[in-house]
Symmetry: none
Subunit: 242 residues, 2 copies
Amino acid sequence: MAHIIVVEDEQELARLISSTFQSDGHTTEVFRDGRFALDRIDDRTRPEPDLYILDLGLPRVDGLALCKRIRQDRITPIVMLTAKTSELDKVLGLELGADDYITKPFSLRELQARVSAILRRVEMMSRENLPDTTIDSKVIEQDGLRIDPVGREVHAQSTSISLTAKEFDLLYLLASNPGRVFSRAYLLDTLWGDTYGGFERTVDTHIQRLRRKLAEADNADERIVTLWGVGYRYDKRGSRPA
Amino acid sequence: MAHIIVVEDEQELARLISSTFQSDGHTTEVFRDGRFALDRIDDRTRPEPDLYILDLGLPRVDGLALCKRIRQDRITPIVMLTAKTSELDKVLGLELGADDYITKPFSLRELQARVSAILRRVEMMSRENLPDTTIDSKVIEQDGLRIDPVGREVHAQSTSISLTAKEFDLLYLLASNPGRVFSRAYLLDTLWGDTYGGFERTVDTHIQRLRRKLAEADNADERIVTLWGVGYRYDKRGSRPA
DNA sequence: CCGGGTTGTGACGAAATCGTAAATATTCCC
DNA sequence: GGGAATATTTACGATTTCGTCACAACCCGG
């Protein structure tokens, strides 16, 4: 059973979609305003859903922007809803990377069927062991730290830091979004998988090991900051007041 | 520009689709009978198209069967055309592995847009990711190691190293992308074929044999690095700090 | 049909990593 | 300042992953 985020400003339609999927046993979260949805998307304190359903025309921030934002660093499935066929053409042309597009009006059964198909496909995929599905693999380079996701190497001013798999994933995720807080639950979700039933303190231990290795190589700098009662954050050097 | 096979029994619609894509610069091949289409699909002397457009309801052999047949051994994109929404539900439920589904009646512009989106996505995929898919085989020459893919020979500072087929392929793939990690799953996929069901330990063994031969000839240098829990990586000599 | 070279497999010890718990330290808030 | 909540450190056992080896299956040329 999946968790689905629905962003749709027409109240009645939003309600219908939500209740449809809920009666299928899924859980839903509904937003009727693009700006609020964006906040939710950027909030690394709460877990990533299994699927997004985005309306194209939204108040304040439109569906296109949301879709782009998500695709910047995630491959979470997205279904786009468009009002007119002519609109659909444009959207498809932009190649946003959504997984499916539906033109209003549509039957709920169709939406249901398409969503099921996508979820099933994702489920299949995740079973297999495919080579690195990371969308963007950019080298991160800042204040003397170089993080290369392709070779999975980390260098601090010419000396190499050897990290374990988990340590690297953790660092890369944090450093990809400097200044953004990640809750332990979110980190467990994305790095350990949503089926992981372990302890949240596990994250602490890995953070600690990471901190030590960073400190050893890159003498005395606390890039990884603890947010009490919330989680962890990666700060660029000097971004905090002395 | 792509080659598209259209299977549609309504003559007028088939003509429209065909001419639409032809005027976009694509080439098309039209079948109005499932049986003939199947023959074409099974004919390995003719080139595989870049995309299929299949109608669900067809004489003699229906679109479902064609879709299944294609998916048995191909990942060529497929767009399914269905007559009714109710039909669509069923088809989606079957999870045939088609890439998109459209319900009649539809606008040609929508079909056009969806097909373009798929073709673009495929194009992206084949470019992205994937290590150097360059067919042109270049001699790799670095730090005293010379790897010649044409003669499939390897020399380490004037002494020749004789490798077996698999060993050579492995070395060549790794060395073509220095600094890049390859998971065992990926290596099995590319070097053994995606249908291979064997064990991942096999890769280890080949890596080991390769390492030994390299070490014998090219005295004490560990170019191939193990990344715990991830895979293997080829490093240029001296790319790792002492 | 024989034999050498190549390839895949299973087993096993060694090594690295990982998760947890318990002890200790820090921060928060009244 | 004091107590509760939260985080860090440490240590250790369990688990996972790796390297190696020997052997059997296979392929192919002679």
